[in-house]
């Protein structure tokens, strides 16, 4: 990895004096600071590289403890294995790797994250609109009640929710895995209400005067105007449901409906007494991280900005 450590002078350190070359001490400081930052960046990325290297090697090599930087005998076989692209006799070599059906877990993760994101954002947006724009008795009390929901740690409602899902006969079903997140989360309502409050009312009021109902106003004015924020929330929600572990761990014992997170966790404990199939596990781990990486690549700026925004307000 070669990194160019000569920064473009951002001109932030130099004060009003506008000097051409900072004092030597400051220059040393800058070099040290950049070194630190680059170190942090490397640390942030390295595990992903190492997972890739592991996924490209075979277990025999790993067990002999070869610590070289590049994969000793690169091949895509582990990725093919995880994705179920091997012929039967090729796969037979990997006896005892347990039954890890990556495709199935991926499908479940996609269904869960997609459905949860869509419904949660839609319903939360509706609620946020009511809290931001409609007047009704007890509005603020209700909103504060919602906010109180932010304070409740998930484990507290986990147990009763498991019993509820069980009573609804939804354990070990995809709807059961989605249910608690499908209709709202206090955070989503809160997040969108903040934005709706900031939208200029004059356009809405004009529409309302023209006789448009609240429904039309919401769909045709508010939603389009808040599209960037809604997208941001959707990305955050997607990532969150993609990463959810505890809830599906409890309600999705059946591999048929397990998302990737749970399936990966299970895969490590397939064979007691023998070490995990690291190369396949790392290949699977990377593949499981891939969708989020792709999503991130497309929405990085928006995500970064929205996270910074939540810090300021």
């Amino acid at each position: 990895m070669s990194t160019d450590t000569t920064p473009k002078a951002a001109g932030k350190l130099e004060g009003a004096a506008g000097d051409d070359s900072p004092a030597p001490a400051a220059r040393v400081g800058r070099v040290a600071a950049w070194t630190f930052l680059i170190f942090i960046i490397v640390i942030s990325i390295f595990p992903f590289y190492w997972a890739l290297r592991t996924g490209l090697s075979n277990n025999g090599v790993l067990l002999s403890g070869d610590g070289s930087f590049l994969p000793p005998d690169a091949s895509l076989i582990n990725f093919q294995r995880v994705l179920g692209l091997l012929s039967a006799e090729e796969a037979a070599e990997f006896r005892g790797t347990g039954s890890f059906d990556f495709g199935r877990a991926l499908r479940n993760s996609i269904i869960i994250a997609t459905c949860v994101t869509f419904f949660q954002v839609a319903f939360s947006a509706m609620a946020a609109y009511a809290f931001a724009r409609l007047k009704f008795t007890g509005r603020d009390k209700l909103f504060n009640l919602y906010l109180a929901g932010l304070m409740v740690p998930p484990i507290f409602v986990l147990i009763p929710n498991v019993i509820l899902i069980r009573d609804l006969n939804l354990l070990n079903t995809l709807p059961g895995v989605m249910a608690p997140f499908l209709l709202m989360t206090p955070f989503a309502v809160f997040f969108l209400r903040q934005f709706f409050l900031g939208i200029n009312r004059s356009i809405e009021e004009a529409a309302l005067l023209d006789g448009a109902g609240h429904g039309r106003t919401f769909f045709e004015i508010i939603l389009p105007m808040a599209a960037p924020q809604i997208t941001t929330l959707a990305v955050l929600t997607y990532v969150q449901s993609w990463n959810e572990y505890l809830w599906p761990l409890v309600v999705a014992g059946d591999p048929e409906v397990q998302p990737l997170t749970v399936a990966l966790g299970v895969f490590t404990t397939q064979q007691p007494g023998t070490s995990p199939d690291w190369s396949a596990l790392m290949a699977a781990t990377l593949l499981a991280a891939l969708p989020v990486l792709i999503l991130f690549a497309f929405t990085a700026r928006r995500l970064v900005d929205s996270i910074q925004f939540s810090g300021i307000k």
Partner: protein, 326 residues
């Protein structure tokens, strides 16, 4: 045996929801449609809130006073027995409290120091979205994946980190299988995952500090360190307080990493020797491994109270830390 589940689960949820606000009670306020309109906007979220937050919250409170178990799906009211048991004769509960407290402490210290440092560096050096994006990357990964990545890298025998340490003649260090190392290791992993995210929050706070202050300070001949102490820290207090609230509440609830990465092979998560059995894991195990839902609920009631206390204290701090850019 039951019939097949209804295809759309919402219907079941709606049917299960006993309460609809009686509209007649809510008179429309002047000049507005009032509840008549709001009701439809709020309906889905209300159902969700009642079904999965409010009612379960109350039910959880009730279960804490019973000896409910999941397999038999029954339990009877036993009063304060669960609470008595955890206060008086459950050393494991106290052990998990200790472990959690230690973890929270380590996590707060390492995360805050690292994040502030990173944020200040970014503020001074670069505004590049690439740098900020890369730092955010670990935060977007599922805990499970993060745990597996580090479980592999930190393995006592095969891990690259031990290869690296061995290069300097250190080790091998048993990160996950040593009773004293396991909690610092998990704290380190979660710090790794969150440092970029937290740094971004602090960075945003830094951006609101007028640069003129630093310029004036420089003219007065203050050093970087002095300015950091007299300008940055005081003006950053609200953001720092927010970050602390998030971090503390979050670290009390550490679970995924411990569940996936500890206990070694075929051992119980929370190992070695319960050195990493945090409170969340202990609740989980009581509910689903020892089949003692009532007791698990009682412990989570204690956790809720604990978190409330922590939050209230921090809210005080927040208010105390209101800063004005006067």
């Amino acid at each position: 045996m039951s019939s097949t589940a209804p295809p759309a689960s919402e219907e079941a949820a709606i049917a299960a929801n006993p309460q609809k606000p009686k509209q007649s009670l809510f008179r429309a306020t002047q000049g507005d449609a009032g509840w008549r309109v709001a009701f439809w906007f709020l309906l889905p979220s209300l159902i969700g809130f009642l079904t999965f937050f409010l009612i379960p919250g109350l039910r959880g409170l009730y279960i804490a006073f019973t000896d409910w178990n999941l397999i038999a799906n029954s339990g009877s009211f036993i009063g304060l027995d669960n609470f008595e048991r955890l206060l008086n004769d459950d050393p494991q509960f106290w052990n998990s409290m200790r472990v959690t407290a230690w973890y929270v402490f380590l996590n707060i210290v390492s995360q805050t120091i690292l994040s502030v440092t990173i944020a200040v560096m970014m503020d001074r050096l670069t505004n590049s979205i690439f740098v900020r994006g890369v730092m955010l990357l670990p935060y977007l990964m599922p805990n499970v994946i993060v745990a597996l990545l580090w479980l592999w890298m930190l393995d006592g025998n095969l891990g690259v980190v031990n290869d690296f340490l061995g290069f300097f003649g250190i080790g091998p260090v048993n990160f996950f299988t040593d009773t004293t190392n396991v909690i610092p290791t998990i704290a380190g992993i979660n710090t790794w995952r969150h440092m970029g995210y937290t740094a971004l929050l602090i960075f945003a706070g830094l951006q609101t500090i007028p640069k003129g202050l630093y310029e004036a300070g420089a003219l007065d001949g203050s050093t970087e360190a002095q300015m950091f102490r007299s300008i940055t820290i005081p003006l950053l207090r609200p953001v720092l307080a927010l970050v602390l609230v998030l971090t503390i509440v979050g670290s009390f609830q550490v679970f995924d990493t411990v569940q996936v990465a500890t206990g070694g092979l075929s051992g119980q998560p929370g190992g070695p020797a319960n050195a990493s059995r945090v409170i969340y894991l202990y609740i989980f195990q009581n509910a689903f491994n020892f089949n003692d839902m009532g007791y698990a609920a009682a412990i989570s009631v204690v956790l809720v109270i604990l978190l409330l206390v922590v939050t209230v204290i921090q809210m005080r701090l927040l208010r105390a830390g209101e800063s004005d850019l006067a």
